[in-house]
């Protein structure tokens, strides 16, 4: 065990920042922002430290912190980090400061904003690191509250409604999740993920749940599935997402799409799949259809949006559906006589890469949309712009790179993940991969249409008058993201090296109990 509780520090450093801001009521706006940025950057700094002591060859949890907490409930304060968590912590560390910078010039009280934002960041990190359902669920729910207020108080004209929808929908989902886990606790007496995963792997979890009554194993599985499906979101539980992402302020949209949508995928990988291998296997032929629905219809729905942010929101649905497609395909194939280990490793590795890459590209796209919105005085329809590339060539270039990364252009980061996902899914469920290609086509179509209407052509709409190019602040956010897109497009091993042992061990244990 590490002498320094690094993981606790990662989680609580943003909360310390939030407490600091809360305790210093006389802080000026600038000081608030600076403190928030500093504490937000702490995640990045600490993950650099973690990278230093991270054992790359190991598949299991590292830097584990485990203390007894509530003895009677068998609850332990249990934190741990593996490749999956590490990738997501890194992503959070990258996106959160960028999102804060995006809010730099935003009107309204910076104090409350920074406070809520740091709370949100800490809660998200907690979700990625906690290994006991008790505090994991606390983090999971706590992330909703600041997100709600951030959307509600700083969002666009429809923000109130969108935020309600967002919170009610996700709360509804997590209520089922909670009930499912209460039943699991009643059956097994533990809430520890590691312990539960062990039980899930050898089938004793299902047996114990069945002992409660024949209907329980299915009901619990359905409840947990629903909780995560809403969060990701899985088609057709996604209707809360476009309004929430579109109405939220830019910074929050960035964080929501880059980090919070990953919480759902993380739940699928960390909980649903290990705990319920058999029910997931049984349900996956159906779930594959849903994931395909998200991938294809999400992309086609994006084509019809006239609001730039709604369009990017739909593209998020499309991208995350690929992750889910890969997970379901692996699950559908597990337990076959000849488990296709290579294909499964590719699909899962692609999923992790895609999670990170989508965070980068969608975050950057939302940031660009925010710039456009700010320049146009709050308008963000596709028809409100024209010829922005003439007026703001640097913005056009950076936004173009983010766009091409999002549509999976080889050489940029998005391609590697999509290639691996398709390669894996093809090996497991070929027809699904072929169908999902429609989504790739539609993605190219709507992103290029967006690009053509907003950036090309003669200057029109909001870009007809004076239209400032990116400033140093915008560059400070976009340039690192874009640089990472290039870097990870050429050297994906920087990321795959972190989780490869984990993926290999997943792919090696595909048998069903």
């Amino acid at each position: 065990m590490s002498p320094l509780p690094l993981l606790s520090l990662v989680i609580f450093a943003p909360w310390i920042g939030a407490a600091l801001i809360a305790c210093l009521p006389r802080l000026g706006a600038g000081a608030c922002r600076a403190i928030a940025l500093a504490f937000s950057l702490s995640t990045l700094a600490l993950s650099a430290v973690i990278l230093g002591c991270y054992e790359r060859g190991a598949a299991g949890y590292q830097l584990v912190e485990m203390h007894g907490w509530i003895g009677a409930l068998a609850v332990h304060y249990h934190l741990g980090l593996d490749g999956l968590s590490l990738v997501l912590v890194l992503l959070t560390g990258l996106i959160a400061p960028g999102a804060l910078l995006a809010s730099w010039r935003q009107p309204g009280s910076p104090r409350l904003f920074s406070l809520l934002f740091l709370l949100l960041q800490g809660a998200a990190l907690g979700v990625f690191l906690a290994l006991d359902f008790f505090h994991w669920f606390i983090f999971w729910e706590l992330s909703l509250i600041p997100a709600y207020f951030l959307i509600r108080l700083w969002g666009g004209p429809g923000a109130g409604r969108a935020a309600y929808q967002f919170v009610i929908y996700t709360l509804g989902g997590s209520a089922f999740l909670l009930l499912g886990f209460v039943a699991i606790f009643a059956a097994t007496g533990t809430l520890d993920f590691v312990e539960l995963a062990r039980m899930g792997a050898d089938g004793s979890l299902a047996a114990r749940l069945a002992a409660l009554g024949g209907f329980w194993p299915k009901a619990v599985f359905a409840g947990v599935l629903l909780g995560f499906a809403v969060k990701v979101p899985l088609f057709p539980f996604h209707t809360w997402l476009p309004p929430a992402y579109a109405e939220a302020p830019t910074s929050v949209s960035m964080f929501l799409t880059a980090v919070m949508s990953k919480m759902g995928v993380y739940g699928f990988l960390r909980l649903l799949w290990p705990l319920f291998p058999a029910p997931l296997h049984a349900a996956s032929p159906f779930l594959i259809w849903l994931a395909l629905g998200g991938a294809v219809l999400g992309a086609f729905a994006a084509m019809r949006q006239s609001d730039i942010k709604r369009m990017i929101a739909y593209s998020s649905i499309n991208h995350l559906s690929y992750c889910l497609l890969a997970i379901f395909a692996v699950s559908a194939a597990s337990g076959r006589a000849a488990p296709a280990g290579d294909a499964a490793a590719a699909a899962l590795g692609g999923t992790l890469l895609q999670m990170f890459n989508h965070g980068l590209s969608a975050g950057a796209l939302f940031f660009c949309a925010g710039i456009l919105e700010a320049r146009a005085g709050g308008r963000r329809g596709l028809g409100d712009f024209g010829g922005v590339r003439t007026a703001a060539p640097v913005l056009a270039g950076l936004c173009g790179i983010a766009m091409f990364s999002s549509l999976g252009l080889p050489g940029l980061n998005g391609f590697v993940g999509e290639f691996l996902i398709f390669r894996g899914v093809w090996g497991l469920v070929p027809w699904a991969a072929a169908t999902a290609c429609l989504g790739l086509f539609a993605t190219a179509l709507f992103l290029l249409t967006f690009w053509q209407r907003v950036f090309h052509g003669p200057r029109a709409g909001a870009a007809a008058g004076p239209f400032a190019d990116v400033g140093p602040l915008d560059l400070a956010v976009l340039v690192p993201l874009v640089a990472l897109m290039f870097l990870l497009g050429v050297l994906p091993q920087l990321l795959t090296g972190l989780f490869n042992p984990l993926v290999a061990s997943w792919a090696a244990h595909l048998s069903l109990p």
Binding site: Y169, P236, F237, H238, T239, P242, V296, L297, G298, F300, A301, A302, M303, R304, Q305, G341, D342, A345, A346, G349, G387, R389, T390, G397, F404, L409, P410, G411, F415, F419, L420, F422, R423, W426, G427, A433, A434, C437, L440, F441, A442, A444, L445, F446, L448, Q452, F455, H456, G457, R459, L491, P492, Q493, T496, G497, N500, V503, A504, A507, A508
Partner: protein, 673 residues
């Protein structure tokens, strides 16, 4: 020392120049252009060395493979490959690129985004060279898409023109359709062989072991996996190389600056599909051994090639835009190359690819010179009489025209086209490609004659044409170099001295008589003469007098001419099918989202509200639109119930208390009775 291990230098040089160009501010014209040209020159020199090394051992496939990243238990590997095919392509691409870069110095001189232009050009050259030298289909695909990207950027270079922006998008989308097929083929291939390396010491996908596995009749109907994979990869090639039915983007791509048209949409990028087919030819031909298979991949390739060759030539006959004629001529010539691959002679395809690269680049640059001189006048009806004003341009253009038309013995196009026709004649499956090829020959000669007479003969038919003057040396020198290439290159592969063929196949090809099949050659020479004669008869004898005069063919056959001029209405067909379909699908997805999924959730909420209504919790907002019709009845019922609801909370509480007492008393009375 393995020469292949240094091969990465060739694409890396222009890539560096592109990066430099991207970071150069607008003012740094000399820096960006200088870097790009220097990088191209370096790449040319390196390519020459590479070709030299490759020719030393033509049969060996020199490879340098390396691990990209580890995944699970395995690893994804990439690599470089050097053989005569690569070497020749490298030299051709870098030489043509270098010439066109120099040409662009003059042509793009007045453009304010000059640095950006060279950045994109260098990016393109890097990607194209990457396609050529990669030993892994994955790396090839990466470069392939980057080629598509730079094509997109360059077609849309004048992005403030809506037509250019639309053309760029169309090009990207249409080629992407093909690329998705390629992508699936790639993924399939990877899944069934576990590797994407072309040559890997016996384990590569183009080597006997993998091919034997792929060629087994594994699919429904006795098809081999290699047939399906080959056809999927051909989708990518067809998209890039403008094969029917994915050719529609290529004519629109002429919205880009002329050097771009010359470099990308005539000489190099569009030939990448042919190169790809030649590269993976063992895979494409793997199913030939399977006599029982209902379909062979190459048969489809030959068929598509023949259709494209004939269709492109036919449409070119009726175009009025200088560059559009050349564009459809490119489509047609690419069809010839595919036809050659399809009938099994990829060597002939590559031979034609190399000669075509030179004479088509020459023709486009000549057109560019005309366009530059006439201040962007591209309508051939409004040109004319430039032969006397622009002598160098005229002479070199005539060389290119005759090479393309296949004027015998002197020009390179003749030799390469003869080898294709010869291969088509020897194909056992069908004679149709040969007939299509021969029909294409007469059309090609005819439309090129028409073009030349319209542009250079007669008298100027517009002010711009009257003012035209010969272009500066920076433009004419590349023309002269290319013209020399367009003549000389043919002698590398004549049947009497089949140097190219021996090098490409890696086995000595015996030299035969200069004319392999006299009958075929005689027929094609007669056809060329017929085409030239017809062109002269219609357009050269009495040149057009003014821009408004009707085309003689249009006057004779207005319906046919209009149909061809409208490009056989294929764009409209696409708009009606693919366009409609995708917009219908997007409408459906959006509708599902807004009405059905969201509606389902709202319905749940409304049901809750209805229950509330029944209990008297009248909702002031009532029910939203969309459910009004259903809910009106409930609403009325609720209204009736809600009379009892005064809204006075205390009243309710009081009623509760009284009710409780009354209930208890009633129960007690019931008990005591």
């Amino acid at each position: 020392m393995n020469p292949a291990s240094h091969l990465w230098v060739i694409p890396a040089l222009p890539l560096l120049a592109a990066a430099l160009g991207a970071l150069t501010p607008r003012g740094g014209r000399r820096l960006a252009a200088g870097a790009a040209i220097a990088a191209m020159a370096g790449a040319l020199i390196a390519s020459c060395f590479a070709l030299h090394a490759a020719l030393a051992a033509p049969a060996a496939h020199l490879t340098c493979n390396f691990e990209w990243f580890r995944l699970g238990g395995g690893a994804v590997r990439l690599g470089w490959l050097l053989d005569p095919l690569n070497g020749l392509m490298c030299v051709m691409v870098s030489l043509v690129s270098l010439l066109i870069f120099i040409f662009s110095l003059g042509y793009m001189d007045e453009d304010e985004n000059f640095t950006r232009f060279f950045c994109f050009l260098a990016l393109f050259a890097a990607a194209m060279l990457g396609v050529v030298v990669s030993n892994s289909l994955l790396l090839l695909f990466v470069s392939w898409e980057l080629v598509g990207l730079s094509s997109y950027l360059l077609i849309g270079f004048w992005f403030h023109k809506p037509s250019a922006a639309a053309a760029a998008k169309k090009a990207f989308i249409v080629t992407r359709i093909g690329d998705l097929g390629f992508f699936i083929g790639l993924v399939w291939l990877y899944d069934s062989t576990g590797s994407l390396l072309l040559y890997d010491g016996g384990r590569g996908i183009l080597e006997a072991h993998a091919l034997a596995g792929l060629a087994a009749p594994a699919l429904a109907g006795g098809l081999a996996a290699s047939t399906a994979i080959g056809l999927l990869i051909f989708c990518g090639a067809a998209g890039k190389s403008g094969q029917f039915p994915l050719h529609v983007w290529l004519p629109d791509a002429m919205e880009g600056p002329t050097p771009v048209s010359a470099l990308i949409h005539a000489a190099t990028m569009v030939a990448a599909g042919v190169f790809l087919m030649a590269r993976v030819f063992p895979l494409m031909a793997a199913d030939q051994a399977l006599a029982s298979a209902p379909l062979h991949a190459l048969t489809v390739v030959a068929g598509i090639g023949a259709v494209t060759a004939l269709m492109g030539a036919a449409i070119a006959v009726a175009q009025d835009d200088l560059k559009k004629v050349l564009a459809f001529s490119t489509v047609s010539q690419l069809g010839y190359m595919m036809l050659a691959v399809g009938v099994g002679s990829w060597v002939a395809a590559i031979f034609h690819l190399l000669t075509h690269a030179f004479f088509k680049a020459l023709l486009f640059l000549g057109a560019g010179s005309v366009i530059h001189a006439t201040h962007h006048e591209q309508d051939i009806r409004r040109l004319g009489g430039l032969g006397g004003r622009m002598r160098v341009t005229f002479a070199t253009f005539a060389v290119g025209m005759m090479a393309l038309a296949g004027v015998p013995f002197v020009f390179s196009g003749f030799w390469s086209k003869e080898s294709i026709l010869h291969a088509a004649m020897e194909w056992e499956v069908s004679r149709l490609p040969l007939w299509a090829g021969l029909a294409g020959v007469v059309l090609t000669a005819y439309y090129m004659t028409r073009l030349t007479f319209e542009v250079f003969a007669g008298r100027p038919r517009s002010h711009a044409a009257e003012q035209a003057r010969e272009s500066p040396a920076v433009i004419t020198v590349p023309l002269l170099v290319l013209a020399a290439g367009a003549i000389l290159l043919g002698f590398l592969g004549t049947p009497a001295w089949p140097w190219l063929q021996s090098q490409l196949t890696g086995a000595a090809v015996p030299s035969g008589p200069l004319i392999e099949s006299p009958v075929l050659t005689a027929v094609s020479v007669i056809l060329v003469a017929l085409g030239l004669g017809a062109g002269w008869y219609l357009y050269g004898r009495r040149p057009r007098s003014d821009a408004g005069a009707a085309d003689p063919v249009a006057a004779a056959f207005p319906a046919v001419f209009a149909f061809l001029a409208a490009r056989m209405k294929l764009d409209e067909l696409y708009a009606l099918t693919v366009g409609r379909l995708s917009s219908a699908l997007s409408w459906l997805a959006d509708f599902l989202d807004r009405r059905v999924w969201d509606g389902a959730i709202r319905l749940l909420a409304r049901l809750g509200e209805l229950a509330g209504l029944m209990n008297g919790e009248a909702d002031r907002d009532g029910l939203n639109a969309g459910f009004d019709a259903v809910s009106e009845g409930f609403r009325r019922a609720g209204r009736a119930y809600s009379r009892a609801q005064s809204g006075d909370a205390q009243g309710y509480l009081r009623a509760l208390a009284v009710g409780f007492v009354v209930l208890v008393v009633l129960v007690l009375m019931g008990c005591s009775r």
